[in-house]
Every structure is written in structure tokens, then in C-alpha cells.
């Protein structure tokens, strides 16, 4: 029998939750290490970045500690690392007959350590250490998948989830400057839109930090020594074909996976997704030719994120079960909701707790 639709969806979302947790750990780690002098206000932009402001302020005073807790350990925040790992594990649990035992065992043990992260582990002094552990756990899961997951249709869905989420996260990261600018007016806030050649020392620090966050600092400086201008870094993260976290690289991987599903696995339903992926790749090429890209970065990111949402909903429509399973509270999209936004969020595979009450088993 071929891959169950439900399992394809599970693999897709397992990878997405994993990548989401991993990216968030990277962002928090970056902010804790290079966040500048303003320890309190320095964290507010995370709320803007994830459009969590109103939801957050309903319950908490925005301080460094409360924001960190909200994104790391808060069970009730569906976008926290803890929630992401929880849902990654729930998806993996449903996939246990399908995925290698080692994948499950690693994630199960990792989930245990994430559940144990307490207030002491997320104090600013301990935070980098905790983030390193979180990153390592996510990377280990991706590594086991890469090393052991059988290369059939299922692997392509895993890869699609990973790459779509990663492209989305890198795009959000490119938008950090915009998010920061809109919360904390500072001397550097407007610099992303400044004329090339007028960058400040703060800019250099900022964009180097972004590069470090995606693990591209070293390779960038190898390729373009002393050239960490907003312009060059943005182009690198958006368009570079060879760095695994650049949007361009992710788009190509998505295209490869969809081609593989269509031709290698004879699934013509992949065509709808391929069409959107083509739009994405063409748009990236156009951005490459755009000399004013850095000035339009927010607009560009907005478009990338919308196109990714279209892409996942085409994949969902073609391959995933209908009607969708019951959900936990949907995560707030980065931008104001469009119908496509909501569709994307609704597909997230978080099986409802209520189905657990309706169980029966004898013997």
C-alpha cells in the first residue's frame, strides 16, 4: 500500500515543527548573545516578529524574562519551542510504524529534556547554554532523518516541510530589522533602508549577527571578505544557491522534492505545488536583478511568506486528508490574516486532545 495521506501530512508537520523550534532557538540565542545593551526592551521585537503583541500583553508584562519564557517554555503559546517539540513528537508518535525507531527514540528523549527546562535554565546567564542544547537536539533529529529515513515519498514530504518552514524562518529573520524598527526606534532602526555606502558600525554588528544566526558568518566572509553590508547579506540570505538556509536554496530543494514526487513517484498531483514553486523561483530571480532590493526588503519578505503559504496549501490540497484533523489553537501568522494564511495554519497537524477521551480498548 502507498503512503497514507495522514502519514504524509505527519511527516510534513514533524519537519516543520522541528525547524520552527530550531529557528526560534537560533533567534533567541542570537538575541541573548548579541542583543546589545538594552536588556529589557531588546526583546520586544520578537513579539512583533511573530505578531504576538496583543496576545502576549493580555497575560504578561513585556520584560526580557517574560518574553523568553513565552517563546521557550510556555505551554499555552502554540509558537513556543516547547509547544513545537510537543507537536513534533505527537506527529512522530503517529508515525512510529513508519519512521525508523532511532528517529522516534531521539525525539522522545529530546522531548523529555525540553519538558524539563525550568526557570533557572532560561535566566539570561544560562540562556545561551540552553539554546545550544535545543539546537543540538533539533539538529540530531534532522541528522537521524537524513541518515536513516527511507528515501520514498515519505522522505520528500519530510523535506518539503523542513524546507518550506526554513525558507519562511529565514525570510522572517531578514525582516528583523523591520520588526525592530517598528518597536524600538533607534539610531540604527532605519539603516536597513539607508543608502548603500552609509552603513554604520551598528549595521555591521547587526548583519554579522544575522549571519551567525543562520550559521553563515564564516562562509560569507570567506566569499565576500569585509563586505557585510545590508545589501550583500540580504542578497546572500535571499538568493545564495548553496547555503542550506538561504531562501534560494530552500526553494530549489522544494522544487526537487516536488519534481521527485511527480516524476519519480508518479504523482501528477504535485503539479499544482510545482507551479507555485516556479513562481517563487522566478520571483527570487527577479529580486536578484533588483538593484533596490534592500530598500524593498519588507515587501519582498511579505511576498515570500505569502507564496510559501500558497505552496503549502497546494501541497495540502493535493495530498493531505480532508477534512483536516482537529487542531490546537492556531498560531498567529506573521501578517494580517488572509484566507490563505488561515488555511496554512489550519493544516498544522496537532491532533486534538479530545480524541483521546473517545478511546476504547479491551483485554
Amino acid at each position: 500500500m502507498r503512503l497514507l495521506s495522514r502519514n504524509a501530512e505527519g511527516l510534513f508537520w514533524l519537519a516543520r515543527y522541528l525547524e520552527r523550534a530550531s529557528s526560534l532557538a537560533r533567534v533567541i540565542e542570537m538575541q541573548s548573545s548579541f542583543g546589545g545593551h538594552d536588556r529589557e526592551n531588546g526583546w520586544n521585537w520578537l513579539l512583533t516578529l511573530h505578531t504576538d503583541e496583543p496576545r502576549f500583553r493580555e497575560r504578561f508584562e513585556p520584560t526580557a524574562d517574560s518574553i523568553i519564557a513565552f517563546y521557550l517554555t510556555d505551554k499555552s503559546n502554540p509558537g513556543s519551542i516547547r509547544s513545537s517539540i510537543h507537536w513534533a513528537r505527537e506527529n512522530a508518535r503517529a508515525l512510529r510504524p513508519f519512521i525508523p525507531t532511532e528517529m522516534w527514540a531521539q525525539l522522545n528523549a529530546f522531548h523529555g529534556t525540553v519538558e524539563e527546562i525550568g526557570p533557572d535554565d532560561i535566566r539570561l546567564s544560562q540562556l545561551p547554554r540552553t539554546c545550544v542544547q535545543l539546537r543540538a537536539g533539533c539538529l540530531a533529529q534532522m541528522g537521524v532523518a537524513k541518515g536513516l529515513l527511507y528515501r520514498d515519498e515519505g522522505y520528500q514530504f519530510f523535506k518539503l516541510g523542513l524546507m518550506i518552514e526554513r525558507a519562511d524562518q529565514t525570510s522572517r529573520l531578514l525582516d528583523v530589522k523591520f520588526a525592530q524598527g517598528s518597536t524600538v526606534p533607534s539610531s540604527t532602526a532605519a539603516s536597513a533602508t539607508a543608502t548603500p555606502g552609509t552603513e554604520t558600525a551598528d549595521d555591521f554588528v547587526f548583519w554579522s549577527t544575522i549571519l551567525r544566526t543562520v550559521g553563515a558568518y564564516q562562509v560569507f566572509h570567506r566569499l565576500e571578505p569585509n563586505n557585510a553590508t545590508p545589501e550583500r547579506v540580504a542578497r546572500f540570505l535571499a538568493l545564495n544557491p548553496s547555503h542550506p538556509r538561504s531562501i534560494g536554496f530552500c526553494a530549489r530543494s522544494i522544487d526537487e522534492s516536488l519534481q521527485m514526487l511527480r516524476s519519480g513517484f508518479r504523482l501528477p498531483k504535485a503539479n499544482a505545488g510545482l507551479e507555485v514553486c516556479e513562481i517563487l523561483m522566478e520571483g527570487l530571480q527577479a529580486a536578484g536583478r533588483d538593484s533596490e532590493l534592500v530598500g524593498r526588503l519588507h515587501e519582498f519578505n511579505d511576498w515570500v511568506q505569502r507564496t510559501l503559504i500558497d505552496l503549502s496549501s497546494e501541497i495540502a490540497t493535493a495530498f493531505f486528508p480532508v477534512p483536516p484533523p482537529l487542531q490546537p489553537a492556531p498560531e498567529q501568522p506573521a501578517e494580517a490574516s488572509t484566507p490563505a494564511d488561515r488555511l496554512d495554519q489550519v493544516q498544522s497537524q496537532g491532533q486534538s486532545q479530545t480524541s483521546g477521551k473517545d478511546q476504547t480498548q479491551s483485554g
Binding site: 505527537e90 503517529a94 510504524p97 480498548q361 483485554g363
Partner: protein, 492 residues
């Protein structure tokens, strides 16, 4: 008693120091209370094992079970907690000849129960002949009129069966209960063995133990045998209530071992009385469903209307013969605690043979003599409600206070046909690793029989052990653990 090893190495604290089964039959030492030649290598290994070291290894092994997710899930108001079934490292060993008797007895019992089910859903000869009271069968809540006159492939109703067997003071095997709906636990049989092989190869050295790891392969073979007529290469699936079910790990295990898809109700649809699974390439036909969902929840069209676990129209597809359900619907009549009392007569009726395995003597409280006897001897009997599973609601007379007995008598009088009673059996014990070393703990045995055209019995079975001192209740929900069960290749 000091072990020989302890005498030789006075500083050694051995796991077996002071082990004494008392008046009970010991599974390792047998009736003469001495380690026999067959288990000598195991006994020697335990004798020379440092207690603290063995305990450390046991705790590591349990940790590994947890890490691998070989767990069941307990639900509280707020949380879902994964627990392992406590695992005891000292195995339970069955000789080849003891096993031969169990195997033959289980096969005989399963054969008779399948014939009984066919009969009560067709001609009802056994009822007409007055062997089993009609009322007991036809008004039983597990009797399913939907099954009347339906002919099943190979005439098999109970494809997967678990027989709960105990051993009395004399070492005699007695059947305590049949499980013909969806008996669970077989995953632990195989996983316990794998754990033993990985973590305690020294204990296994020198003994020839029959393998259990081909269970999945055998099960798939049997399920293929009962595919609808005309299907040469049937699609077999395992239907699970999903990840929130307490036995979900077992469903994963079985699907994995058989190499079939684990589906939930929402993965299947019925169209034109045929069952299909939703795959990424579209719908694929399904021919055999090993379902781990109770009858009640299987098809919201027919049974529980609110069930979100089942598949609409599944029963019609089954009635049309387009899909085989394993186990069949309506097998619960055969493992009913009241029908149990009649199983020896059922065996004689259909097979014209004496039962190879005896029942525990059982008084049916729904009958006047049974009720009178039970009320008169309640302090010496075990009183069991017929509708419960998991060891709930059992009253053990000799261990109950006067007030508890009075309460039980009141319940019994209010609804006599809801109860049976049995004499208290002094269950056999097996040395079990506790804090202070090996202690005698009571055990039972559940062998698994799978049936298509004929029956195969997994050489081993689930040995459940009551970890609490003196406790006779081995159910995992009541503090029971498990042991690996070794069936020896030969008596030589």
C-alpha cells in the same frame, strides 16, 4: 538459605540469597524446590550475580524501555503520562513438556470457541440441546444480531486469542479466563525477549529457548489466510483508535512487525460496501482489518453513534464479505465470564474430547445453586463481576474484612447474574528482583493463539507478575509487571 556461591564467596551479596517460595509452587524450582538440570545455567548465573549490579542493570533496562517508547499511557485530568510496564529480569521458564500441554490445550479451546460462535450465530444447536442456557447467550450484551447467518472465511471468529492460565499449588495449569475480543500484551512478549537478549545475554547463555520474534510474520500469514474469497494479494491493515489509546505502542509494534499500515478510522472510507484507505496516490482497497477497536466503536452507523474512531459502513462491507474483520464482531460472548463456566462442556459438545486444560472450578451466581453456594462461602471464594476487565471489582474473600464481605454480598444479591465465584487459587510464584533481592511473587501466563485455517500458538506468552508482596492481582493497572517467558526447546 545461603547459596553455594555465597558460601564460596562470603562477600558476595547474590540476587538469590534467602529466596524461599514458601508453600507455593515455584516456576523456577518446581515441586521439589531445587533448581533442576534444565535451568542450572540460569540459576548459577543468578547465584553468582552481585545483587546491586543486577539491580543496576535492571534499572538501565527499564530506562531503555522508556526511551524507546515501549510504554502505555495513563491519562489524568491534566496530563498524559507515559509509563513502562515494569519489567523483571528473572525469566519464567517453561519446560518443553509443560508447554506441549499448554499448546494443545489452547488449540483445543480456541477450536471449540470458534465452533461455538459459528453455532450461536447460525443453527444454535448447542442452545437447543440445552448444553448452554439460551438466555446466557442470546441476552448477552456482547451477542451481535448483525452476525446472524454470516459465514466467515475459514469459519474463524477469534483470530487472535489470549488465554489466561494460572498454576495452582500442585503445579497444575488451570484456565482462568479467555480473551477473544482484542487481547493485548503480545508486544511485551517480543520486546521483553529483545530486551533480555540485548541487556542480559549472560542469563540466556546455556539454555535453548524457543524464539518469539516471528510473531508478526505468523500473524500476517494468518490474516492473509482469512482474506475475502478471490483476493490473492490482500491489503492488510491494523486499525487503531490512535495515539491517545493506552495500548498504542502495541498497535505500532504489530503494524511494524507485520509490515502493514497502521490506520485510524479517518484513514478509511466505505463506498459501495468496499473499504478503501486514503493514500497520497488516491484510494486503495483494504481487504483484512486487524482492528484494535471494540465492537461498540467500530461503525457509527450501527453501534455507538458518537464514535469518532470507527468507519461508517464498515459492518455492511463486512457482511457483504468484502472485508474481513479480525477479530470478528460479536466474539465477546465466547469470553464472557459466565459462558466461561460452560467451556469444558462446549469442548466436549463440539469436539467429543476431554478438555486438556481444566477450568478453575466456577460457580455461576445467575443459577440458584451457584448463588446459594457463593453466599454461604463468600469468605473463602473470589467473587468476580462478569462484565469487567482489568481486575476491577474483584473481591477476594479470604483477604476481605467482614464489612467488605457484607457489602459484596449485598451487591451480589442485588444482581446475581452479574457475578461468578471461584475458589481462591494459590497462584504459583516466580523469583522476582525486589529491593532486597529475589522474592517470590505470584504470576500468571497468557499464551497467544492465532487462527486462520488452523491455529498457531506463540511459544512463550506474557507472564504477568504481581509485584506487591502477597498480591494475586497481576493486571498492569493494579501494580503488575511482566517477565520474559522462556519455553525450552526440549526436556533433554
Amino acid at each position: 538459605m545461603a547459596t553455594i556461591a555465597a558460601l564460596k564467596h562470603p562477600q558476595l551479596v547474590s540476587a538469590l540469597d534467602g529466596y524461599d517460595p514458601g508453600e507455593f509452587y515455584c516456576e523456577l524450582l518446581g515441586s521439589d524446590k531445587q533448581p533442576g538440570r534444565q535451568i542450572a545455567p540460569l540459576w548459577h548465573c543468578l547465584e553468582t550475580s552481585e545483587l546491586s549490579l543486577l539491580q543496576q542493570r535492571a534499572s538501565d533496562a527499564e530506562h531503555e524501555l522508556f526511551k524507546l517508547g515501549i510504554t502505555f499511557t495513563v491519562y489524568t485530568e491534566k496530563d498524559a503520562i507515559d509509563r513502562i510496564l515494569p519489567f523483571d529480569v528473572i525469566p519464567r521458564v517453561l519446560s518443553a513438556s509443560a508447554w506441549a500441554k499448554i499448546e494443545a490445550g489452547v488449540k483445543q479451546r480456541v477450536k471449540a470457541l470458534n465452533l461455538f460462535l459459528h453455532d450461536i450465530y447460525h443453527d444454535r444447536k448447542i442452545l437447543k440441546d440445552g448444553i448452554v442456557p439460551s438466555k446466557l447467550v442470546l441476552t448477552n450484551s456482547c451477542y451481535r444480531e448483525e452476525m446472524i447467518d454470516l459465514d466467515l472465511p475459514c469459519g474463524t471468529y477469534i483470530h487472535i486469542n489470549g488465554t489466561d492460565i494460572v498454576r495452582d499449588r500442585a503445579g497444575e495449569f488451570l484456565v482462568l479466563e479467555d480473551n477473544g475480543r482484542s487481547p493485548s500484551g503480545v508486544s511485551y512478549v517480543v520486546e521483553n525477549r529483545h530486551l533480555m537478549q540485548r541487556a542480559f545475554p549472560d542469563l540466556m547463555a546455556g539454555l535453548k529457548v524457543r524464539p518469539v520474534s516471528d510473531y508478526g510474520k505468523r500473524l500476517l500469514g494468518k490474516l492473509r489466510e482469512v482474506a475475502p474469497a478471490g483476493i490473492d494479494n490482500p491489503n492488510v491493515v491494523l486499525l487503531s483508535p490512535g495515539i491517545y489509546n493506552a495500548a498504542y505502542f502495541e498497535h505500532v509494534f504489530l503494524a511494524r512487525e507485520m509490515g502493514v499500515a497502521l490506520v485510524e478510522g479517518r484513514d478509511l472510507t466505505v463506498e459501495n460496501d468496499r473499504v478503501f484507505a486514503h493514500t497520497i496516490a488516491g484510494r486503495e482497497p483494504v481487504h483484512v482489518i486487524y482492528r484494535r477497536i471494540n465492537d461498540d466503536f467500530l461503525d457509527p452507523d450501527v453501534f455507538n453513534k458518537t464514535s469518532m474512531l470507527g468507519v461508517r459502513g464498515l459492518l455492511r462491507a463486512a457482511r457483504r464479505g468484502n472485508v474481513t474483520l479480525a477479530n470478528a464482531i460479536g466474539t465477546g460472548v465466547a469470553d464472557d465470564k459466565a459462558v466461561y463456566a460452560y467451556v469444558p462442556r462446549i469442548i466436549r459438545y463440539y469436539l467429543d474430547e476431554e478438555p486438556i486444560l481444566s477450568n478453575v472450578e466456577t460457580h455461576i451466581c445467575g443459577e440458584p445453586e451457584g448463588l446459594a453456594y457463593t453466599l454461604a462461602h463468600l469468605d473463602r471464594l473470589v467473587l468476580k463481576p462478569v462484565g469487567e476487565s482489568g481486575g476491577y471489582g474483584i473481591v477476594i474473600g479470604p483477604k476481605s474484612s467482614k464489612a467488605e464481605l457484607e457489602a459484596a454480598a449485598a451487591k451480589l444479591k442485588a444482581d446475581p447474574s452479574n457475578f461468578i465465584s471461584q475458589p481462591m487459587i494459590d497462584l504459583s510464584v516466580s523469583p522476582t528482583l525486589m529491593d532486597g533481592g529475589a522474592k517470590p511473587r505470584h504470576v500468571d501466563l497468557r499464551p497467544y493463539a492465532i487462527t486462520g485455517r488452523d491455529t498457531w500458538v506463540l511459544p512463550g506468552g506474557l507472564t504477568r507478575v504481581a509485584l506487591k508482596e502477597g498480591s494475586l492481582i497481576v493486571n498492569s493497572s493494579q501494580g503488575g509487571g511482566t517477565k520474559d517467558t522462556w519455553v525450552l526447546e526440549s526436556d533433554a
